[in-house]
């Protein structure tokens, strides 16, 4: 597609829901611009990731990453308490929230206690997950995203389509148009001009903001340290300029030791964007101390559960919590690359989203997501902490049809009596050779009456044709003819 010859309009504001996955995926597949934008971006990201691990013993590093995360999970309740104790000793106030709603309320109340009217935000997927911006705005508090991609998406009244690159679905011309319409900049393809314009607009806002809200990449129990990974400097601005900083994170983000951080950081930047390092690695330990001249005077940490402790109960599902949110699984997913992030209708799209969202939103809402995969295995192969994503997708498919342990919210929602009976029948047939053989023989005999049109199947494919003779019959025949097999002049016989 030649992007330059088209007239560009910012994409219409739409709301997406995981319930509508099939329709949304269908729409996205028919949108050459979305497909072009994602294809180009994902191809680039896959190459960059591969190149960035050159010379590394990647398997050993992944093993270490997985073990560090596993160790943290094995000690999770103790580490959370240790984190709390050390943060408090450093002067950071710690809050706990059962769900997103409670976390939103905690953050709003901190803002209100400071009479805050404007909040500047660093990138935080947890805040997206709990719809913090909408919550604050309903309370009359403006929440402005400062990560460039998040800022663009917010200007366009959209949600991020990728957990690392929120505006990956937009191309240069669309972004130019959004900035022009919403902020009055010139229409241009000059990325430096647009970046400089956003810098100028947001610098004013950093200075004026009453509160900064950020996420956390790793929370270190041993020292009470909050680590933030970023390139733009907006994360440092958000956590240093406003008088109050609120960090919000899921309870699984804790690691035990400070030394656990370098390997995970190494895996994260390379897996995410193929960078050997990001511009900034920001380690926050306390609010401004006596005698210091800058930094927030108050720092808060909000620990959010939102379904994570229920994932934690199950030995197999537990692996989901190892995730360090690099996005490599979506970058390498053939389904994500084709349908884009919005089609999933969830905060976390792609393979990780499909194994995480059902726990947060229930399988009623997300029933189709575990099937949004060809089970090609790429996500599991590139995962820096070795989460067996394909196995977990299969597990959730089983849960959805009521064949699992029943410990995922909405388990059994896709179970239909007809389908269950059909599979039960199939199982019985397949384990009774006599029935199976006579059954398949009958199908072969009746193939003439099979309809040529089979609904959705034959929309794009030809109808399957049962063989005239079953494999069993052919093998039997073959074995009967066996004495002649080795005869060289078989053809002439």
């Amino acid at each position: 597609m030649n992007a330059e010859n088209q007239a560009f309009q910012p994409q219409p504001v739409q709301s997406y829901s995981p319930r509508e996955f099939h329709r949304q995926a269908h729409d996205a597949l028919g949108n050459p611009q979305i497909r072009g934008n994602f294809r180009k971006a994902m191809d680039g990201l896959m190459t960059k990731r591969r190149d960035s691990f050159e010379g590394w013993d990647l398997e050993t590093l992944r093993e270490l990453g997985a073990n560090i995360r596993m160790r943290a999970l094995a000690k999770l309740p103790d580490l959370l308490e240790q984190l709390e104790t050390n943060c408090q000793a450093n002067g950071i106030r710690v809050h706990w929230a059962e769900d997103g709603e409670e976390a939103c309320r905690i953050i709003r109340e901190i803002c209100e206690a400071h009479d805050a009217k404007s909040v500047i935000k660093g990138k935080s997927m947890v805040s997206e997950e709990m719809h913090l911006n909408a919550h604050l705005e309903a309370a009359g508090i403006e929440a402005l995203e400062s990560d460039l991609g998040e800022y663009l998406v917010q200007l366009n009244e959209q949600t991020p389509s990728h957990i690392i690159m929120p505006a990956i679905h937009l191309n240069t011309d669309e972004i130019s148009e959004i900035l022009h319409e919403k902020t009055g900049t010139e229409r241009t393809r000059d990325v430096d001009y647009m970046t400089a314009a956003a810098r100028q607009q947001l610098r004013e806002r950093f200075m004026a903001a009453d509160v900064g809200v950020s996420g956390v990449n790793f929370a270190v129990a041993e020292t009470g340290t909050l680590c933030l990974v970023e390139n733009e400097g907006n994360g440092r601005m958000t956590t240093t300029v406003p008088p109050v900083h609120i960090a919000v994170t899921g309870i699984e983000k804790v690691v035990e030791h400070l030394r656990d951080v370098p390997p995970l950081y190494s895996l994260l930047t390379r897996s995410a964007t193929g960078q050997h390092v990001t511009t900034y690695f920001n380690m926050i330990n306390s609010p401004r101390k006596e005698g210091e001249y800058d930094g927030p005077k108050e720092v808060h940490l909000v620990l959010v559960d939102s379904g994570r402790s229920s994932i934690y109960q199950d030995n197999e599902l537990l692996d989901t919590l190892r995730c360090i949110r690099c996005g490599a699984c979506m970058n390498h997913c053939p389904v994500y690359t084709r349908v884009g992030g919005h089609a999933y209708g969830t905060t976390y799209p792609g393979p990780i989203g499909s194994i995480l969202s059902p726990h947060m939103m229930g399988l009623e809402e997300t029933r189709d997501l575990p099937t949004a995969s060809s089970l090609c295995g790429a996500c599991g192969e590139v995962c820096p902490v070795k989460i067996p994503i394909p196995d977990l997708l299969v597990r959730l498919r089983r849960e959805a049809v009521g064949e699992g342990r029943g410990n995922v919210p909405g388990a059994g929602v896709k179970r239909t009596r007809k389908e269950a009976a059909a599979w039960k029948g199939f199982q019985w047939m397949a384990t009774h050779p006599g029935v199976w053989r006579s059954g398949t023989a009958v199908v072969g005999k009746l193939k003439a009456i099979m309809p040529a049109k089979l609904g959705a199947w034959t929309e794009y494919r030809t109808a399957p044709k049962p063989a005239g003779r079953t494999l069993h019959a052919l093998v039997k025949q073959h074995q009967a003819d066996k004495p002649s097999v080795d005869t060289p002049d078989k053809e002439q016989r």
């Binding site: 971006a41 013993d57 050993t60 270490l64 596993m70 160790r71 094995a74 309740p77 308490e81 706990w96 929230a97 409670e102 400062s146 990560d147 991609g149 690159m165 929120p166 240069t172 972004i175 990325v191 647009m194 970046t195 400089a196 810098r199 610098r203 041993e222 340290t225 390139n231 733009e232 400097g233 440092r236 601005m237 309870i251 030791h257 400070l258 656990d260 370098p262 390997p263 950081y265 190494s266 964007t273 050997h276 390092v277 511009t279 900034y280 690695f281 920001n282 380690m283 330990n285 306390s286 210091e292 001249y293 800058d294 930094g295 559960d305 402790s309 934690y312 109960q313 537990l318 410990n407």
Partner: protein, 226 residues
């Protein structure tokens, strides 16, 4: 029950029972064994690959190098500390230069607008550097606060060549970071950047547009006298 206790209770009373913590072998992130020359070469290669500038100078002459860099970049107002030897020497070296020196030992609330709009560059020392990733590490102090390496358009960092270490893990372990962390610890690897507009790299988003690293080498004659 409070959210805290309810969450911890659920985690402690885990349905599938207690978990076993695996052993972690950190060999893959340490033990590079690079020579000082290799460390310097790697540091320089990586940091210049992300638009950091490296200027080689000596312990004795670095003040002149600093003055030249500031003149080349048209810096008129430079924010810097007072007590760190780097700041002390810089103040001496720039005494006769056409650069106004901006004091940073005052509450940010009193000069935020000035720092954002009327300071061209910030000068800082660094704790050291990391060869593997081309990163500087900084522990900001009241003398060199957090924002002077972030807000001004140019960040000039002063690094002693012999303080470059192999990996991030090595820096943490050798300097025993876990024993006591400062208010804020930072790795800085290049000027601020983004690729959020169709993956096109652009420098100078929210932080500095330029990062200049003055690498100070021990002078040959100084070395002999040691």
């Amino acid at each position: 029950m409070s959210a805290r206790n309810a969450i911890l209770k659920r985690l402690r009373e885990r349905a599938d029972g207690p978990l076993v913590a695996p052993e972690c072998d950190f060999a893959v992130v340490t033990g590079r064994g690079w020579s000082p020359d290799e460390r310097l070469a790697r540091f320089e290669r990586w940091i210049t690959s992300v638009h950091g500038e490296v200027v080689h100078t000596t312990r004795d002459d670095w003040g002149d190098a600093l003055a030249r860099v500031l003149a080349d970049k048209g810096v008129r107002r430079l924010a810097l500390g007072r007590e760190h030897p780097v700041a002390v020497e810089a103040r001496l070296a720039l005494a006769n230069a056409e650069v106004e020196l901006v004091d940073v030992d005052r509450d940010i609330e009193d000069w935020q607008q000035e720092q954002f709009e009327r300071v061209d560059a910030g000068l800082t020392s660094v704790g050291g550097a990391i060869a593997e990733t081309g990163s500087l590490w900084l522990w900001p102090t009241p003398d060199e606060p957090r924002l002077i390496s972030l807000v001004p358009s140019i960040h000039v960092a002063v690094l002693d060549a012999e303080t470059i270490e192999d990996t991030f893990f090595d820096v943490m372990e050798r300097h025993d970071w876990a024993r006591g962390m400062p208010t804020n610890a930072l790795l800085i690897s290049g000027p601020s950047k983004t690729a959020d507009i169709e993956q096109t790299l652009a420098y100078g988003v929210h932080g500095p547009r330029e990062l200049v690293v003055l690498v100070r080498h021990v002078d040959a004659d100084t070395e002999e006298s040691l």
